[in-house]
Structure formats: C-alpha cells, structure tokens
C-alpha cells in the first residue's frame, strides 16, 4: 500500500540532529535532552501508526521517494519499505531508542558537550532507520555506512581520550572491511540481476547462478560479521565501551549490532538459494555465541562482560537465521533489545553512582545502596540467562528448538553449552556487583533520578513480559506477524517443538547459575581468587579474547602499515622518483654540454625535448 508517512521516521531524527548540532551552544541541557528525545519519540509514534496502517491494509507499506541513479542499462530507485521485518525493527529502534534518549537526558546533563551528544545520538537513530527502511541495497548500504559513522562519532565522543580515539578508529575500520564485502556483493548482484532493488534480486534469487548467489551470500555475511561483532570481525565491540553508557545501550540493543541480523533476515531468499551460504551463517553464529560466552566468563569490567554477552547473544540470532528460523531469530532480537538495554542502563546507574568505576573486582554490596538498580538488573540477568518466564527464555528456546528440529545437533549442543555459560557469567557479574560486602569504599554517590529510572523500569517490565507473546502452543505473535514477509517469496519459516530439549537447556542454565553462585556468592572462593591477579595462560587467553585483537593489530595492521612505510619511504623516494631524478640527471649532464650554447634552464630542456620529439617523429612516420 502506498503511503507518505514512512519518511517521517527518518526526518524527525535527522531534523533533530541538525537542530541540535547547530543549536548545541545556544540551547540549555534540559531543552537539548527534551528535543533529542522528542525527535525519536515522534519517530516511534510514526512507526506505531505505520504498524496500524500495515495491519489494516494487510500489505506492506511502500513509499517511493526518487530515482537515485539512472543511466543506460541501469536504474536505482530509492524508496522505503514498511513490511513486517522493517516495522518490527523500527519499533525496537525508535522505541528502545526513545527510552535511551530519555535516560541520557539525565545521564549526560552534566557533560559540557551534551548538545553534540544528542545530535549524534539522533543521527544514529536516523541512520539505523534508513538502513531498515530502504527498499533496495544501495539505500541499505548508505544506512549501513552511516550507522558506522554514527558509531565512530559516539564511541569517540570523548575524543580527547586516546583510548576513545583508538576504539572509534578500530570500530570504523572493521566496519569498512565489512562494507567492502557488501560492496562486492552488490557488484555481483548487479551483474546477475541487473538491479539492486530487493524485489528484483529476491524474486530472481532462486533461478540465479548458484556460484554467484553463494558468493553474494558469503560477502553479505562478511558485512554482517563486522557489524554484528561476529567471528572473526568482532574485536571492535569490547573497545566500543569507550563511548558514554547510553551509546553502548543504543548500539547493543537497538541500532548498529543488530544490523547484521537484519541483513541476514532481509536477504533470506539469497540464503535459501544457497545452502552453503546458509550453513556458513549458522556456524559463524554458533561459534560466535560460544566464543563470546567463554570470553565473557573471564572479564572484570562490567561493560566488557555485557559487550561479550551481546556478541554471544547476536551469535544466537545469527544461528537462528542460519538454520532458516528467521522468526525465532527476530524474536530473540526483540527480547534481547529490552534486556540488553536494561542491563547497560543498569550498568550505567552503577557507574554513575561509583563515579565512573567499571571494574567489578572493586564493586560488591551495591544491592543495599542501589535497590532500584539491584532489582532491575536482576530482571535483566534472569531474562538473558533464560529463566522462565522472563523474555529470554522463550526467544532463546525458539532458536534452539528450531536448530534441533532442523537436525543441527552439533550446533544445538553448542547452543546448550552457551546457555549454561550465559547463566554462569551473568550470575557471576550480578553477584560481584550487588552481593556481599563492598570491596572498596567509593564514598557516597547519588542515586539516579526519575529520567533514568523510568526508562529502566519500562525496560525491566518489557524484559519480564515480552516473552509471553510467544508461549509455545499458546501465543505466537512474532511468527504470525513476521511470516508474511517470508511467505512473500514463498518461504515457510520452520519452528521447533517443545519438550525435553527445553528441559536440557534449562538444566544447563541452572547448572551454570549454581556454579556461579557457589564461586562468586558472598562466601564464594572465586571472589578472592579474582582479586589475586595471577592466572594461568588459559585464563589470560580468555581474558584477552584469545589475543585475536593482537593478531589483527600487530599482525595484519602492522603488516599493512609496514608495507606502507616500505612503499612511502623506500620505494617511492628511492626507486620510482629516484629513477625519474636519475633520468633527469642524465638529461641534465647531456644538456650541460649543450648548455654552453644556451643560457636559460627551460630553454635548455626544451631543446633536448624537441630533439627527442624529432627523433620520435621520424621513427613514427617511418614505421
């Protein structure tokens, strides 16, 4: 159905970003926070009304905007698409984004650059909405790249900090590597389909050249691994914590990292046409879920634990997409947005209270001082750990059920193991932060105000109840809502069953939680052990994510920079230019002989030149 409303989802935050950027030095912090939140809130309202319009029409909303490019044999039309997948995403992006904006209006109120902050935050929401709304791959790529730029600007928000500058650079660079994959995918796509519109590409995917479709699928996956912090391009995510906490919440829950999952779901006809590419998605997801969870068990920074947990949970989503269970994958994206935003904002309240302290070895006993943070964080922990009836339980089990139903036993086992590890590291985190006695005295901080508490409370509520929309056998909102988008290209999304596998997952989670309580509870031995810094090589490897980042930075990065020095400082001045100067020197020596006859520099050279021309000329005309 034709609509004119969708574009407003983009225009509100874009205008907000522009107004805030220009007015950053003239508006009061309160007004800046209010305007920034209002812009995203307005987008959310439009997204809701678009949802209503979609349900009424029963057909995807489309809005043609303009012809982006047109020439002989090619045309790229730019339009917006409001189908179930994009509406699903938009509601989370703008809804959770709005809550985070409200939270940030208090959290960042003291920062001298609060105007710049909200301008960038609005721009982030704009870019993500563009990514999700585009009806063609060029628009998706533009949104994709601008999400990358927004993350660069926000990770590096405190750009005077060298660590923030380095983290921003790393995030953008890894994302560019992903983008190279997407650009090459688009190049292949155009060669095969002569179009970059979703409709044309997806309609033709099943009949297309199998090799090209597989290559496209794998190249898109490269892009997704960078954006969604999957193996092997995940190393930017833990460092991205250098940005202010609301940024982390926004990146991990609503924008940025979920873009890879979106791409896998959006481009599903490609993956359904190539079982090899689909299997690659599943394995990347499964292994990432495992690596993220394993590494998270050894982190000592509250935000790094959460960062690796995001990586791991995104791995679940990719795993779901990789077995074709898109509705389960997208359902997990939905619940994860709530509990991950909740956890990050909770971590922000803790850090706020402790004047920026993020090392969990120096925390403890905060439950008594921050009861609100305690209870809401606990809900987040229960939700991510998969405790029934919290949200993560239902969505995680949907994915694992589908994995098993599709016959991927190895991946299912990995998923079960990850469930146990997740419960372990989250309970460990919770125990170290909130339980026991304070490890160190931090002085009295102040507890957060209403603008921070209210969004957290809403997210806690959603983390508790949002799973209930898909109780197996009772409700199936995500499946019912999303399925038309997949049926549109003739794909029946598979689902898993319920029964003993759920019990196995639950048992794994319970075991993980119990182990963590034993080790890190108020009287646990792990607490003391953690404070003793010495560790085995294995522990060091885990704490440093297997040193993969070092391999990239010192290995590959060093190689590229080293090559550049060889080129720029060796080859260029001494060989290439040296050759030129050598020739020039030779000519000069010859010319010096002739120079007795001629005075001026230029004339001397000109003579030599035209002598050369004459010789060339003669040669030329004789052959």
């Amino acid at each position: 159905m034709e609509t004119t409303a969708l574009v407003w989802i983009l225009l509100f935050p874009l205008t907000g970003a522009a107004v805030l950027a220009l007015g950053r030095n003239h508006l009061s912090p309160r007004l800046i926070g209010a305007l920034g939140s209002l812009a995203v809130g307005a987008s959310f309202a439009v997204a809701l009304s678009a949802l209503g319009a979609y349900r009424q029409a029963g057909a995807p909303l489309v809005q043609a905007l303009f012809t982006w490019a047109k020439g002989s044999g090619f045309q790229v039309d730019f339009g917006l698409l409001g189908d179930p997948i994009s509406l699903w995403w938009l509601l989370v992006v703008t809804g959770v984004g709005f809550l985070i904006h409200v939270y940030a209006s208090e959290y960042m109120a003291e920062d001298p650059d609060v105007g710049r902050f909200f301008a960038k935050l609005n721009y982030f929401v704009f870019a993500m909405s563009l990514l999700v709304l585009a009806d063609n791959f060029v628009g998706l790529l533009i949104g994709w790249a601008n999400v990358g730029l927004a993350s660069y600007l926000l990770i590096g928000f405190w750009n005077y900090k060298p660590e923030a500058a380095a983290a921003a650079k790393k995030a953008f660079l890894l994302n560019v590597i992903g983008e190279v994959g997407i650009i090459l995918a688009l190049v292949l796509m155009f060669m095969e389909f002569r179009s970059l519109a979703f409709a044309d590409v997806f309609a033709g995917a099943a009949q297309a050249d199998a090799g090209i479709v597989t290559a496209v699928g794998l190249l898109l996956l490269v892009g997704a691994t960078a954006k969604s912090a999957q193996l092997p391009l995940f190393t930017w995510l833990p460092d991205a914590m250098q940005g202010p906490t609301p940024v982390s919440a926004l990146m991990h829950a609503a924008t940025m990292v979920t873009a890879g999952v979106y791409l896998m779901a959006r481009a599903f006809p490609i993956y359904q046409a190539s079982s090899a590419a689909l299997a690659a998605v599943a394995w990347v997801g499964g292994l990432t879920a495992l690596v993220g969870a394993v590494v998270a068990t050894r982190q000592v920074d509250i935000k790094r634990v959460l960062a690796y947990s995001t990586m791991s949970q995104l791995g679940y989503m990719m795993l779901g997409a990789g077995v074709g269970a898109y509705t389960a994958s997208l359902f997990h994206f939905f619940t994860h947005a709530f509990f991950k935003a909740l956890l990050f904002l909770g971590a922000g309240m803790v850090a706020h209270y402790l004047h920026g302290e993020q090392d969990i070895r120096r925390m403890g006993g905060l439950g008594k001082r921050l009861p609100f943070a305690y209870w809401t964080f606990l809900i987040g922990v229960l939700a991510i750990a998969g405790a029934p009836p919290f949200a993560g339980f239902f969505s995680k089990d949907e994915i694992l059920g589908a994995v098993l139903a599709q016959g991927h036993v190895a991946l299912w086992l990995i998923g079960v193991l990850v469930a146990g590890l997740t419960a372990y590291y989250m309970v460990r985190l919770f125990a170290l932060v909130f339980a026991g006695e304070p490890a160190e005295e931090h002085g009295e901080g102040h507890e957060s105000g209403l603008a921070m508490k209210l969004p957290v409370a809403i997210l806690a509520l959603l983390s508790t109840v949002s799973g209930l929309i898909a109780i197996p056998g009772v409700t199936a909102v995500p499946a019912q809502f999303l399925e038309p988008a997949f049926l549109a290209y003739g794909y029946h999304v598979p689902h898993g069953g319920i029964g003993w596998p759920v019990a196995v997952v639950l048992a794994a989670a319970a075991a993980g939680a119990l182990l963590a309580v034993r080790a890190f509870g108020p009287r646990g031995a792990g607490r003391q052990e953690l404070l003793a810094t010495a560790g085995s090589p294995l522990r060091g490897a885990l704490a440093n994510a297997f040193y993969i980042d070092d391999v990239y930075q010192k290995g590959i990065g060093g190689l590229v920079v080293g090559t550049s020095y060889v080129v720029g400082n060796g080859l260029e001045p001494h060989v290439i230019d040296g050759l030129v100067n050598g020739v020039a020197g030779g000519v000069r020596r010859i010319a010096q002989g002739l120079g007795r006859l001629h005075g001026g520099y230029v004339r001397r050279y000109t003579l030599v030149l035209f002598a050369g021309v004459a010789v060339f000329m003669i040669y030329f005309l004789l052959i």
Partner: protein, 508 residues
Amino acid sequence: MTLTFIVFLPLLGALVSLFLPKENHDIHRKWALIVSLVALAVVLGMWGPFDAGNPGIQFEQRANWIPSIGVSYHVGVDGISYPMLIITGLVSVLAILASWNIDHRQKEFFAWMLVLQTAMYGVFVALDYILFFLFWELLLVPMYFIIGIWGGPKREYAAIKFFIYTLVGSAIMLVGILATYLKAGLGTFDIVTIAQQANFDPRFQFWAFLAFFIGFAVKVPMWPFHTWLPDAHVEAPTGGSMLLAGILLKTGTYGFFRIAFPTFPEGADAFKWLMALLSVISIIYGALAAMAQRDLKKMVAYSSVSHMGFVTLGLAAAAGAVAQAKGVGDATVIGQLLANGSMALNGAMYVMISHGLISPLLFFLVGSVLYDRAHTRMMDEMGGYFSKIPVAGTILAFAAFANLGLPGLSGFVGEFFTFVGSFPAFRTLVIIAALGLAVTAGYHLWMMQRVLMGEGKKEESFPDINGRELAVSVPLMVLIVLLGVYPALALSILDPAVSQLMLKLGGM
C-alpha cells in the same frame, strides 16, 4: 559565443588587471574574484539551455583559423565536458577566495590565476587538436609561476619538476597529434571529425594511443608517472593545490574521454589490460604511500593518485566491455556488456567530478585553515583539533569521510559505479581495488586520530574557522552531499554522452 566568452573573459580580466595599481593589494583580489564569478555565472547560466538528453556537441562555435592546414577555432561542450566546466568555474572562484591573503606580489598572482582559468576552460571546450594543445600547454605556464613564486620552501624544484614532467608528456602527445593529422589525411585538425571519419589501422592506433596515453597518463597522473604530483601539490600555495588537484589532474583523464578513446578504439583495446593494471597499482600504491606520510598535505596528494586510479580503471573497463562483447551473438548479452561499459565510464566521470570537489576542500583545509593556525603540516605536531577548533575539525572530518568513500557522499557513487561497471571485465583487479578501500579508510582514520582527536599541545589555542573560510568550504560540502544523495542529477547529463562514447568504442 558563450563558450568563447567564458574562455577568454579571465584572460581579458588578467590583461585589465595589468593596468590596476600595483600598490592597492585589495583591488587585485577583488577584481579576480569578480571576473571569476562572472565566468562561473555564465557557465551556470548554460544549465537551462543545455540539453541533457542530447549526446552530441552543444554551444558549438567554429571559425577558420589556419585554413591552409585545416586548423580551426572549434569549441563546444557535451555531457562530458560541461560538468568539468562547472567544476572549473566553482573551484576557480573558491581558489581565489582561498588565496585572499597571499602576502606578496598580489597583482601577478591573481593575474596568473586568471590566465590559468582561461587555459582550464579552454582545454575542456577545445575541439581542434591545435587549439587543445595550445590550451594544454598554456596550463603549464601559470601553474609553473604560481608554484615557483608563491610556493613552499622547495618550490623551485617542484615547479621545474612539474614543468618538465608534463612537458615531456605533452611533447610525446604532440607527436601523436601530428601523426594523427597526417595519417587521417582529412586535411583537418578537428577532433570530432577525425574521430568520426578517420579510418586508422590497428597498428597505427596502437602507436597513436600510446603517444596520447603517455601525455595523459603523466597529467592524471598514473603510476609510475606520478612523482611530480606530491612535490607540486605540497609546494604549491593553497589556491594552486586546489586547482591542481581539482581541475588539472582531470584534464588528463578528460583527454582519454575526448581524444584517445573515441579516436583510437583499437588502441584502447590494445592497452586496456595495461591501463587497468596501472590503475589498480595507482589505487593501492597511492593509498599505501599516503598512509606512510607524516606530512598531511602529502598524504592528501598521494590520495589523489589513488583516487584518479578509479577514473582510469573505469576507462579501461569500457574497452574491456567492448572486447567481451566481440564475438557474442546474443543481442541482450551485448547490450548488457555495453551497459557495463557505460556504467564504468559514468563511474569514472563521477569520480572526476567528485574528486574535483573533495580534493580542493581537503587542500584548502590542510593548506590554509590548519596551516594558518598551526603553522605546520606534520600530523604528529597536531592533535586535539576537534576540541580546539570544533567547526574546522568537523569540516576536515567531513572531507576525510567523503574522501574515503562514505556511502551517502559523492565519493562513494563514482567508486561504486566504477566497481560495478568494471567487475565483469577485470574481476581480480576490481577485487584488489576494493580491498584498497580498507587501506584508504585506514589512513584517513589514522589521520583523524592524530590530527583531530587526543589532547594535542596544551598551550595551543586558535580561533575557529572564519567567515571567508566557511564561504570556501560550504559550497563544496553542499555539492558533495547533494551528489552523494542524488546522483541522478549529474548522471542525467553524463549518461547520454558517455553511452554514445560507448557505442563508438563498440564500433556501432
């Protein structure tokens, strides 16, 4: 007449300025600005009457000049040259604004800037070989003096290197011109007539293309003929660097579009692999060399080598597409292959336009805005400019992201079309070039980390960007965004002309 007016107005302005009082410094810059603005206004005024759908030559004017040997004064524009005229007019105006505070020999400086404009406009409108060659050579003279008199410490070395290098290139090109004239046997030096009517055998086309190739490749510059560029760009005063990077490099690639490809399609076919290879080497080598620089201006200079590689890659791919189409029976497939070629050429032209906006912006920021404040070009002596000069810092970041090809800005569009159009012909090379994007992003990000972020020197404090500097930057920024968001605007002018060139290459 319109084109003649545009071409000679700046020269006339330069002559008039000779009679203006030498002591009154203000009058020279104002006069140069007014003259350039009038020329730009006339160029922009052509937008309405210019028929975008017509692939042929428009605003044509022809007069006999030396009839005995067939030299004529023949000028005109098509969809390939008109965008270059717009960029020339715009960057000329901005370069004069950027040179507002030149501190010695103002009268001469602005006179040379005006002469340079005549030469640039002339190259893009000339349709006669002799006329083209005259303007081509005329480019050198003002630029030689601009670098040699108002340049940096190594200005004389740089100016002479620039002069000799391009003169060698154009001398070889002159041989090509004369040989083409004689071999064609049409008794005319007309570029269009020769391209349409002459019937050159492949062997001659090989040699003639090579002669033009060398002349143009030096100007572009293609690796390994590029070493004049970093010296010239770095030593040139800001206004000179802006025009050098923004316009003069494009005269080289423009020569391929206007002369070498349409006149010697078989020659292009013979050299397509070499050209594609050198292009990709330029892209990667330029990016790596840029990464190694400490000198910010030199980094930008090497990035030009890298970016111009996309233009020549697109050109080579057009020849590659024609080669692929030969011997194919299926008309649909032929159509698609030729469409690939058109797309590559559109991409190449788009890179020329986009780089014609981005590189002047970068050179202005680096050579003037930053240098006037920090008095250094060394990146490790800078730092923290996001905090110290937030607006100028943000504009530099904008220019850097545009230059690294951020989708949504103009730099991306041309590179993307070049990739899409070139891939079918040169798969491996395009993949390597695409990997170069990561290197390009790398050195820009590293630059921003060193220049804009961090704390920098504690005691430093500068005023942020001023009104004149904004007046130079903002028009470029607006166009970079506009051409990134709405490429159809430029493509509507480029595509008809480029597609006609493609048909000519395909022998249709």
